[in-house]
């Protein structure tokens, strides 16, 4: 028996024009949480796709329990005891928890084609009990929360007797509370001797849950070390390959006039009585737990959802924002949390996405002026340093950080005066994050008012001048930069801060 449950040696993978993996390696011990870190494009996902049998490697070796194996297909990977839990779950929404756990391996009544429901439900309950999750196994999974769906995925992995579980950004959509539950579960799995590969952009989690850290950069292995021998700065330096001068390059400007004010804003069933002002020269953060109504407030201000109460003022004048068209007319832009499904048309080019919200400006006598359109797009590519071969590149092929910049370019071209960033750094690597923050600084300097929705408290504390905290659809309090601390924000966000704020 080998010391390692999994070894990947000298794995190389070449795509047209890119060397995605260059003799990368990874060793995983049973009962370890092994964090795989690296910027987007460092090769983490390619490595995991090869492990999952979704793509073949060009060369290199994979050993499981010390035996060399060829992973031929996702199904084969599963048979070898490898399970992947992706950000987007592979669950069938209208099937029950138990049906999902046993999908494709349903227990039968003897040799008949009929499903042995009793056994399926019992076995499912057993597995869920093992990971201490309390769920009705007959419920369809679309009725479950994201966190619960994740638990079902993990149960599914365990039901196939997985020895190696890969989790790709499992925390991205979880609340603090749910995350704690996930970590408890990971600890249980660890004590059962399962090897976990944990991919995350949040370094705090690495220190909380990780045993080993492997950092990758440009398709190569940089280092593998126990978490206890590392600190945050060191990890970032290894990931970025250079000293990152500042993670949060905050610049201060004098507060100007009021740009946006909302009074008593409400939408039935989502949030109520939200009032605040946004001034030029500052970044205001709207934070709170997931589900507190932050995104809903942003969408309402932008006219994406109807408001049922309250008023919106722009430069002191009341405005009616009934649709995104109205918002754009007034110079309000929204960078949505979900770039791929709400921010971009993935199949369109950088040029087309950049100009989508303000095509009208480029229309001369019925037709779009292509030449001008291209030069506009090229200008933003230069200004925002978007890494793309040309403006004719389809945005699907860009990295997360560059996609976010294209969304930003779109709103800059509409001459937005109020920009709402909803989780602007989600799924974006450390280096690109700092770049996005620098762009925010430049925008404030130009007189744009910024509202930033974020769940990442370090980023809230690092970049904002004021913090608005929401709790269950209401504003729970407002803190200045000086007053704000992780603890105070969390108290307000969890509804414990009422007395203190008053």
């Amino acid at each position: 028996m080998s010391e390692y449950i999994l070894e990947m040696r000298d794995v190389t993978k070449r795509f047209p024009g890119v060397l995605a993996l260059d003799k990368a390696h990874l060793k995983l011990r049973p009962g370890d949480v092994h964090c795989l870190l690296g910027e987007n494009g460092a090769g983490k996902s390619t490595m995991m796709k090869i492990l999952a049998g979704a793509q073949p490697a060009d060369s290199g070796e994979i050993l499981i329990d010390g035996t060399a194996v060829q992973i031929l297909s996702p199904h084969h990977a599963q048979e070898l005891g490898i399970s992947m839990i992706y950000q987007e779950f592979n669950l069938s929404p209208y099937l029950s928890v138990a049906e999902n756990i046993f999908l494709g391996r349903e227990p039968r009544l003897g040799k008949s084609p009929f499903i042995d429901w009793k056994r399926m439900y019992n076995d499912s309950r057993e597995i869920l009990k093992r990971i201490r999750v309390d769920l009705d196994v007959r419920r369809p999974v679309n009725e479950l929360s994201v966190a619960q769906q994740q638990m079902v995925e993990i149960a599914k992995a365990l039901s196939v007797k997985a020895k190696i579980i890969v989790m790709d950004e499992p925390s991205a959509t979880l609340t603090e509370h749910e995350l704690a539950a996930l970590f408890d579960l990971i600890r249980t799995l660890r004590s059962d001797g399962i090897g976990l590969i944990y991919i995350s952009h949040r370094l705090e989690e690495v220190f909380e849950i990780g045993d080993q850290v492997t950092v990758m950069r440009d398709g190569q292995h940089v280092a593998t070390k126990p978490v206890s021998e590392l600190n945050r700065e060191e990890i970032i330096r290894m990931m970025v390959g250079r000293e990152l001068t500042e993670e949060y390059p905050k610049e201060f400007f004098t507060r100007g006039e009021e740009r946006l004010r909302v009074e008593g804003l409400g939408r039935e069933g989502a949030f109520s009585d939200v009032s605040f002002s946004l001034y030029t020269g500052e970044i205001v953060s709207l934070t709170g737990l997931v589900g507190a109504g932050r995104t809903e407030v942003a969408r309402a201000i932008f006219g994406a959802d109807k408001i049922t109460a309250g008023r919106i003022f722009l430069d002191g004048k009341p405005v009616e924002v009934r649709s995104p068209q109205d918002a754009i007319k007034y110079g309000i832009g929204l960078l949505t949390e979900d770039r791929k499904n709400q921010g971009l048309v993935l199949g369109m080019t950088v040029r087309e996405n950049t100009t989508l919200a303000s095509l009208k400006k480029l229309v001369k006598r019925l037709f779009i002026n292509r030449k001008e359109e291209r030069s506009v797009a090229e200008q933003y590519v230069r200004e925002l340093q978007i890494k793309t071969p040309s403006v004719e590149q389809v945005v699907q092929n860009l990295s997360g950080g560059n996609q976010q910049k294209v969304v930003l370019a779109k709103w800059l071209f509409t001459q937005s005066r109020v920009l709402i960033f909803d989780e602007p750094t989600r799924g974006i690597d450390v280096g690109a994050k700092a770049e996005i923050f620098k762009l925010m600084n430049a925008l404030i300097k130009k007189g744009v008012a910024i509202l930033m929705i974020s769940s990442e408290l370090p980023e809230v504390l690092g970049m904002c001048d004021r913090v608005l905290v929401m709790h269950e659809g209401r504003l729970a309090g407002e803190l200045t930069r000086e007053e704000a601390s992780q603890e105070r924000i969390m108290r307000l966000a969890t509804g414990m801060g009422k007395a203190e704020a008053a």
Binding site: Q325, L346, E352, L356, V363, I368
Partner: protein
């Protein structure tokens, strides 16, 4: 020209070749094969200008409809009512000319045209409203409309074709310009050119593609999704009515029975031309070539003596081949 725009030009040419190359190749192959088989049967001359005009003439009706259908399909929708609308448009125009009773024929024909095109726009408008305002899936909304319109056409005429009609009625469908090019062919080419301009060079066309690519992103970028989708069905209805006028003029009658199954033939041409049924991707040029591939196939099969039943089987095979080819292409370029 600076270096970067040169490279984007090259990329564009490459993309165009990649999109149309295989189709054009298939087209040429078809012509060569039919010519060769024809010669064996002592019947040369398939590859000729005459055939081209014949093919274009035959595809005018489908072609005009296919332009509208391309827009609909790019938004991710579908319009099944075109086959019935083709019949209704022809019937309505023929009714006006018939009422006119030989007096001031041209005035009545023009009134008939306007009425038919108006009907097409109203029908498209109804489909568009059902789909946008009432959120009925396009498949269902236009399926219902397909049935109702067919019924209306039959009710209005008691199920019998309206004829005879004056000689002038044939102008749109059969009159040759410059000696041999029928008016309908000229009209088809104009509508194709107009459709391509609309899709590729106007705000409307860009919005159509954006909606098909990602409706929610488009909405949040300030695209008036409801209006654009509604307009797409109005456009499709309008062009379908024009196609109905061409057909009715060619037949010299207004029959409520024509156009049965046309929706499928038109969708086939659009899909063979590389427009994705899931929306966002497609072109008028592709539709034109797709249309030619299908029409040349039908004419060619007739040329070598394969009749309707055989043609139906072959068309099915061609549709599958085209879609498979397209899938291979998108899979190949995914990484």
């Amino acid at each position: 020209m600076s270096a970067p725009s040169d490279s984007t030009h090259a990329a564009q040419i490459k993309r165009t070749l990649l999109t149309f190359g295989p189709l054009v190749l298939a087209l040429i192959l078809e012509i060569v094969i039919f010519e060769m088989i024809g010669r064996r049967q002592d019947n040369p001359g398939f590859a000729s200008l005459n055939t081209l005009i014949l093919v274009l003439n035959q595809s005018a009706v489908y072609g005009v409809m296919a332009v509208g259908m391309t827009f609909v399909i790019i938004t991710g929708g579908i319009d099944l009512s075109v086959g019935s609308l083709v019949a209704c448009a022809g019937v309505l125009c023929a009714m006006f000319v018939h009422w006119g009773g030989g007096e001031q024929v041209w005035a009545w024909i023009i009134i008939g045209w306007i009425a038919a095109v108006g009907l097409g726009m109203v029908a498209g408008s109804v489909a568009g409203l059902l789909i946008t305002w009432f959120s009925i899936p396009p498949f269902i909304a236009t399926l219902a409309l397909m049935s109702s319109l067919r019924g209306l056409g039959n009710l209005a005429t008691d199920g019998k074709p309206i004829s005879p009609l004056p000689e002038a009625y044939n102008w749109l469908g059969r009159h040759p310009l410059w000696g041999q090019v029928p008016v309908s062919v000229v009209l088809l080419l104009l509508i194709l050119a107009g459709g391509a301009l609309l899709l590729n060079h106007t705000q409307f066309g860009r919005h159509v593609r954006a909606i098909g690519g990602n409706e929610e992103s488009a909405r949040l970028s300030g695209v008036n999704v409801m209006r654009v989708k509604w307009l797409v069905y109005v456009l499709c209805g309008m062009l379908t009515a024009v196609a109905g006028l061409i057909l009715s003029s060619r037949l010299g009658s207004g029959s409520p029975k024509v156009g049965l199954g046309d929706e499928l033939a038109v969708i086939a041409a659009v899909v063979v031309g590389g427009t994705s049924l899931s929306g966002g991707r497609g072109s008028i040029g592709g539709t034109f070539v797709g249309l030619l591939v299908v029409s040349v196939l039908n004419s060619g099969l007739t040329w070598i003596g394969v009749e309707t039943f055989g043609q139906q089987v072959t068309l099915g095979v061609v549709i599958l081949a085209a879609v498979l080819l397209d899938q291979l292409k998108t899979r190949g370029s995914a990484f």
